[in-house]
Symmetry: C2
Subunit: 393 residues, 2 copies
Amino acid sequence: MTMTSPAAQTPIARKISTNAVIRTVLANRSISRADIAKLTGLSKQTISEVVRDLEDEGWLKPAGRTDGRPGRNAVIYEINGRAGLAVSIDLGGTKIAAAICDLLGNVVAETKVPTDRRGGMHLVNQFSDIIVELASAAGTTADKLRLVVLGTPGVLDPVTGHINVAPNIPGVDAMDLRQVFSSRMGLPVIVENDVNLAAQGERWRGHGVEVDNFAFVALGTGVGMGIIANGALLRGARGAAGEIAYLPIGGDAFDPGGFTLGTLESAVGSVAMLRRYIGFGGRNASTVADLFAAFNAGESSAVAAIEETARLAAVAIAAVGATLDPELVITGGSIGARPELVNAIRRFLPRCTPYPPRIEISRFGNRAALMGGMGIAVERMHDDLFGVKLREA
Amino acid sequence: MTMTSPAAQTPIARKISTNAVIRTVLANRSISRADIAKLTGLSKQTISEVVRDLEDEGWLKPAGRTDGRPGRNAVIYEINGRAGLAVSIDLGGTKIAAAICDLLGNVVAETKVPTDRRGGMHLVNQFSDIIVELASAAGTTADKLRLVVLGTPGVLDPVTGHINVAPNIPGVDAMDLRQVFSSRMGLPVIVENDVNLAAQGERWRGHGVEVDNFAFVALGTGVGMGIIANGALLRGARGAAGEIAYLPIGGDAFDPGGFTLGTLESAVGSVAMLRRYIGFGGRNASTVADLFAAFNAGESSAVAAIEETARLAAVAIAAVGATLDPELVITGGSIGARPELVNAIRRFLPRCTPYPPRIEISRFGNRAALMGGMGIAVERMHDDLFGVKLREA
DNA sequence: CCCATTTGTCAAGGACATAGACAAATCACC
DNA sequence: GGTGATTTGTCTATGTCCTTGACAAATGGG
């Protein structure tokens, strides 16, 4: 079972046939050769040859036979998920979540540990330890993995590869994290903004499946947005697309204070919401959880603070809507996942935009970014392994 | 010279080779067979066969020979532009601009006429007359054309195909203009928002060449935006992406008046700018041209009116920037093309956003939408004629 | 005028696809 | 339990397309 990419130097026609077979199997989970032939339009003979090669190389495996219908029973084939494993890591200010998934997107090992607050190289060491441990739990070793996807807060510069991380995590903006981590592991590493990953996660297996235009809005300590437009992630020229912290809403756009924190972020972040509660005379809440408890108890300052936050969030969503025209906005984050807030946003929205998008709360909660990393990893593995490259170039 | 798509039912391998040859010739304007072989990596033999077929079918034509270098001279081939002609029409409230271009994007005939104000079917008749006339001027007939691209104001619903046109043009929102026009001409018709077309025009041969993320902002009687993201036009879920008239900036987002005209449009449109001038005590201008003349004469009310308009436009661009992170914003339209306004915007922008995009004035002025239509037409012809379809489906 | 260089064609051989015949396996029905 | 219809999968023959290498044709430089 040689684990090189299938049809590595085969002529172009066989590459295309092989790709068509793999894609057909992927799309149908499990399928017989006869059905592959019908779906691809290729001859039975060609399919048999291609499937034989793919099975010899370990990419496909037989998985039972048909029965119950007239005629000879067919052998069913499916993708051998174990033929490719990848890692997804979600680096947060307090926790690191990580998982290994296979070629089919099945999670084969998962863990969550506190973030090493010393930052920098300590994080790289921590990642490495996590991967070794996960690999062991998955019954394999780290050198069998194909790819790591790492989600971090902050803006990634697509030119330099550097991350401008918010204050949460020390010593990461000074280094080329991707490069260091990649050579440490001897694996390709993809680094992506965590909110972008959350959007990808919803696109992959959440509310965004089959929705080509939507946005994932994260409301928490900070605010951020991941955009799926025309079915693909939108990063912008400097990787800052969706950085709605700087949206000129909820304050004076020309106030220089908006530059450090962001105009919108100073208006709808959890800190602003708590400050607003105090300003309204509230005295019973010092955390977001407290505040929502007070809201549900009907305390007027809490109601006012949350309503005002929802009102501003609705205006922000209206602004995004006027630009992107999404079909759907998915909310997440510590306050964006609260139905109380989201219901208020749903009430305000039709009053400030003529075309209000649908609003849904993230299907994956705080696992959205982790899911997105797996989605990207699986997609990338499929491309690398089964993609048709017309020319090497 | 049979004018069907080349390699219509040839097996897949020859299709790919044919496509590679055409694309290489397109990318190099004119080129010898030997060089095509080097660039594509295909053998001289294959290239000779493919080029012979393409020449027999009229897609390629010889265009001289090399000389001056050692060795036998090569025959140079180029695309036969005349093998495909298409029409671009820009429907405006007062004028209709139209042009015929060939496969290479060369303009072979162009005209401009006043819009028939009766609207509806009268417009379809007018389009038809224009096309016949242009075809004649181009030395061909209307039935030899392959495609029409029509730019209109208003939002196109991608589901119903209907156009919600601003008040300018009567009797168009009630009909399926695309369908009626298409069957009248017996040609495929693509209808697209005019600002989207302007963005495509800049992308094709203007400031947006090689810029994968930019926006075209039209400032005039109305305001609108066309978005190129990840190198492609962004339409959104309902075709309303870029409809920044409704951006909640420059007024109260919850004012119901913002629904009919749009919050931003009531703040930065030319009507608002003139009203603002009057409000500041100005009495010497009743048109946009007058107002800019007064500005250049140093009249304080005119300066204030234009500065305030620029200030709001800068905030709007900042909002778009926080969402899309474009590398570049191109301005156009009757006031967006004025350097006086644009310079003022350039001054305000760095004060309301930490990452101000570059600002340029449209390269094509009021021909931008016409150019965009040609760009789309050429691209579409290339796809239809030379595109590789792996499966008919 | 000769030669190095480049272009383009010819002929042979290999990889891959298709089509059709045929053997094998299975269900339905008597 | 046997028979026939149906479906699967392999085998064989044939054709298309691509590549390779030989070779003729054309051209500039010395």
